[in-house]
Symmetry: D2
Subunit: 108 residues, 4 copies
């Protein structure tokens, strides 16, 4: 599986590379923190913390994930969508994809 | 910090213990899977996977977390809220807390 | 259809009557305002207002509706769920219904 | 106030006019239906319908509004954002505005 991963990295790395270097680090930091929060929730469940406190923590992880989502969304519009419009290539498809992604977030 | 944790466990463990044993395992399994999904998102960002795919994955983690939230909510109503109503103790406070938790989820 | 409505009113009015008189007025005021906001959105679309402003207005109507939802939810727990627990009647069913309603809101 | 509205219409009508004619009718139909649904909720509250049914109806209005939101969002990207990128004018500002609008929807 690791070999596949490396392959993918090579392919997708060159094919996309749209996430801003600055955002990549920001996103990784946020995702690390989110991973830690999820483990914190596991610990709370394990220790039978008060249910309302666990719910509050979960709501906070959801917010953090959606924040990551909007950063990615912005990078996506700034790079993929923008480029496809500038090059006059697949712009309709990219815009369709973008709104579909937002719909998946809103679950409409 | 670990000492504190152990203390908390003792206290909260005996004070609450309201998560059904069956749900506890179910919740831990789901939370483990969510943790894996978050790490998967980190990998996708690292490998510069296609942004829309990362967004789809994030939307799926959000759904999984909200599902965990509703399982906890149900356990909470079935135990804490129910007991407080049956014992005529703090029922108003528990109900207030419950709706506040739902509001935090809906962010209203 | 109006005849049916009147019938329903008689039946449901006596069967439920669980919305607090105070909340009923509050809810109607909020719903009236929401109706006005929806008409405002129609006007904005009609007059081709700036799309982002229309989106902001829609997001605000969604928040207002979810706020109404949580008021109803609280009344529901305070009355139906509480009564069914106190009377030891259909409590499980009521709690099941409650979490299903929350899930519909979160769309999980 | 009506005079103002007419003024606004003239100004914004010529300034924007970005909603597709086809979508404008579609949006108005959806918004009319949403207005009817909100009045339906008012009637349900008035007639003290079963709370869970009212909540279900509200959840359905929220979905319908978010659907309208995504149609507007798509029109916005297809017109305003696209044009600003094509003309190389205010593209950054438009993209910033777009993600801010999505964030308001997700309330992150």
């Amino acid at each position: 599986m690791d070999a596949t991963r490396n392959n993918e990295q090579t392919i997708t790395g060159s094919a996309h590379g749209y996430i801003k270097a600055r955002d990549k680090e920001l996103l990784q930091n946020r995702l690390k923190r989110i991973e830690g929060q999820v483990r914190g929730v596991q610990r709370m469940v394990d220790e039978e913390a008060y249910c309302v406190d666990v719910l509050t923590q979960i709501a906070s992880v959801v917010s953090a994930l959606e924040k990551v989502g909007t950063i990615l969304l912005k990078d996506h519009v700034e790079h993929c969508v923008r480029e496809s419009i500038e090059n006059g290539e697949d712009a309709d498809e990219k815009i369709e994809e973008l709104t579909a992604a937002v719909e998946r977030f809103l679950r409409v």
